[in-house]
């Protein structure tokens, strides 16, 4: 007993003594540190300066703008519309996405057969289409003229792609795109979490007469709660940044869509069409704050970090 503690003390001492005047740690970290400063710290700090900067022919004049950038951003006539668009998209995509991923992971996990493993792979492979290809494929899938789902689309009263991609449907369409490319990876992660549920607990519940649904709802889902919360935070923060989907839909020009459908597109338009980088920075900051606030609220009302 005494010997053990002496050895531990020795190791601790050595570690402290051997490392305090040592520059090798910094040497190992230096190449990353350069990137961290250039592409992590600099943009973060510069974004704050941009909030109060005025631009003259692309040349910034710092602190000249005062609160003008905020005034322009918050009184823009498109702001209400893009916020509403984004709110609708988030309201559909976040809860439904998390619910369906949980449901599918639980269903797959009810019987861990070869077939379930194959399905997990099949669900995951479309992630290879993430980004521009997923948007283009979605346009095809919602065009009753070429889609394999045409009978379903017609049954729902859509005669052409202009009907299916109408303004009212867009939040749902964008939800389907992000779910199509993103859900498979989350299902795999949730499934891994379900595998970590102790077998004894499952067996004990079954002996007590729990049905597969009760087992899922009262034991398995609570056990993967950290993953569910993690997904909520990540998907919300990611979906606030919506850009590629409406942008590519606009480029394809198959159905009328507002050139600035999402807040991120509005920021892009301010920066690169009008040269008002400060105003764009204000909108980017607002999106960042919304994402952080949502994360804080989710973490506040769940016990993710309370162990």
């Amino acid at each position: 007993m005494r010997r053990v503690s002496r050895i531990e003390g020795f190791a601790n001492d050595r570690r402290q003594a051997g490392t305090s005047r040592d520059l090798s740690g910094l040497a190992f970290t230096s190449s990353y540190l350069v990137l961290l400063v250039l592409f992590g710290v600099f943009p973060g700090v510069y974004a704050v300066f941009l909030l109060f900067a005025e631009f003259d022919q692309g040349t910034p004049r710092f602190f000249e703008a005062g609160l003008e950038n905020f005034r322009i951003a918050f009184t823009d006539f498109r702001l209400g519309e893009v916020t509403l668009n984004l709110a609708k998209f988030l309201a559909v995509s976040v809860p439904l996405g998390v619910f369906l991923v949980t449901l599918l992971a639980v269903l797959l996990h009810m019987r861990r057969s070869r077939g379930a493993a194959v399905l997990r792979t099949l669900y995951f492979v479309p992630a290879a289409l993430a980004g521009v290809p997923a948007v283009l494929l979605t346009i095809f899938m919602f065009d009753p003229n070429v889609s394999p789902f045409a009978p379903l689309l017609r049954m729902l009263g859509n005669e052409s792609v202009v009907n299916t991609l109408s303004q009212g449907n867009l939040p749902t369409i964008f939800m389907i795109i992000s779910f199509f490319a993103g859900a498979g990876a989350w299902i795999a992660i949730f499934y891994g979490g379900l595998n970590a549920v102790p077998q004894e607990l499952i067996e004990a519940s079954v002996v007590d007469g729990a049905s597969p649904w009760q087992l899922a709802w009262h034991l398995k889902v609570p056990m993967i709660k950290p993953y569910i919360i993690y997904m909520l935070v990540i998907v919300f923060a990611g979906n606030v940044q919506l850009f590629a989907e409406p942008q590519v839909l606009k480029a394809a020009a198959v159905a009328p869509i507002s050139p600035t459908w999402s807040p991120n597109q509005l920021a892009f338009s301010f920066a690169f069409e009008l040269g008002l980088f400060g105003v764009a920075a204000v909108i980017s900051l607002a999106m960042l704050i919304v994402g952080l606030l949502a994360a804080a609220i989710v973490l506040r009302f769940t016990d993710l970090f309370r162990t």
Binding site: A11, R15, G18, T19, S24, G25, L26, A27, F28, T29, Y32, L35, L36, F39, P43, G44, A47, L50, P60, L107, R111, R112, T121, L122, Y123, V125, A127, A128, L129, G131, V132, P133, L136, L137, F140, M141, N145, V146, S147, P148, A188, G192, I202, E203, V206, S211, W213, Q241, F243, Q247, A251, A252, V254, F272, F277, S284, L285, M287, L288, A295
Partner: protein, 310 residues
């Protein structure tokens, strides 16, 4: 004997045994199978359609069954049409995407491994600050940093150069964080002490002890970095603005925009129509699909869930 071999077949591969109690009532299993099948259709049918579409003409896409195969000749025609767009631009885009993603990958994995190793095995001034900044930049959304980066690149005159996308793509805080955790767990200080007692320099200790332990980590970091960077859209869309620098996703967006290939009523003379767009999308997806299928068993179900657990 028979029982034990049966057991081996059923369970031992990835752990979970087929528990007695999870034998499902028939009605539950029917509901389960129907739901799983509906989603299998949702994910698989569009992919099959996309694979088959380039083998048909645009008219055949309209007239024939959606999941019918066209012909090899037509597939060749579709490729010729796609290749004719700006004299083989599709190959330039793809090659550039590959160069950008692979260069960024080397930078990202190299710096992450070195930094993760240094942070995990050494103590030095500023270490806590570096770790904290890494965590903060990990959650910072791309759209919040792209704008200041654009102005910075503009200031140093690097806009519309490969460097303007490769270097930001090579900054990989998540990878550094994963490497840090990995070395913290897998490298006991005693092992490094033994190496330093044997007279190895810090660099030699890394080469002889740290690096050989890093194989699974290298694979995971390369996988994560490549799949994100190969189909990057927003960053290159902002930084690159000419035909001789853009990558495949930005090129595909330009292709669709400049040819109006997807507009149902547009009677253009361009050979770029729906089958060509489908083929271009497929080309963009294939490398990642291959990486997924090769790495799926190891990366997705194993290390990745292991990394977020704990």
């Amino acid at each position: 004997m028979a029982l034990s071999s049966r057991r081996r077949i059923l369970g031992d591969r990835t752990g979970p045994r087929l528990a007695i109690g999870e034998r499902l009532p028939w009605h539950t299993n029917i509901v389960r199978r129907i739901v799983l099948a509906i989603f299998a259709v949702f994910w698989v049918v569009p992919v099959i359609w996309l694979v088959l579409a380039p083998s048909k003409t645009d008219n055949e896409l309209l007239d024939r069954a959606p999941l019918a195969w066209g012909s090899w000749e037509q597939l060749g025609e579709t490729w010729t049409d796609l290749y004719s767009f700006n004299d083989g631009a599709i190959l330039d885009w793809a090659l550039r995407s590959l160069v950008y993603a692979l260069t960024a990958l080397v930078i990202a994995v190299g710096t992450s491994i070195l930094a993760g190793y240094g942070l995990a095995t050494r103590d030095f001034a500023g270490k806590r600050a570096i770790l904290a900044l890494t965590l903060v930049t990990m959650i910072l959304p791309v759209s919040a940093t792209v704008l200041p980066l654009f102005l910075g690149m503009n200031f140093v005159g690097l806009l519309n150069t490969p460097i303007s996308v490769i270097l930001p793509m090579g900054f990989f805080p998540f990878g550094t964080y994963l490497a840090y955790i990995y070395y913290r767990r897998s490298l006991p200080p005693s092992l490094l002490e033994a190496a330093s007692i044997d007279g190895a320099s810090h660099w030699q200790a890394f080469r002889k002890v740290g690096l050989p332990l890093s194989k699974p980590l290298l694979g995971l970091l390369a996988f994560l970095n490549f799949t994100v960077n190969w189909n990057r859209f927003f960053l290159p869309f902002v930084m690159l603005n000419s035909a001789d620098t853009i990558n495949l996703p930005v090129g595909l967006n330009a292709l669709v925009q400049s040819t109006s290939a997807l507009r149902p009523t547009f009677l253009g003379s361009t050979p770029i129509k729906r089958p060509e767009v489908a083929l271009a999308s497929l080309i963009l997806a294939i490398p990642v699909a291959i990486v997924f299928i090769l790495a799926q068993k190891y990366v997705i179900t194993g290390s990745l869930t292991g990394a977020t657990k704990d």
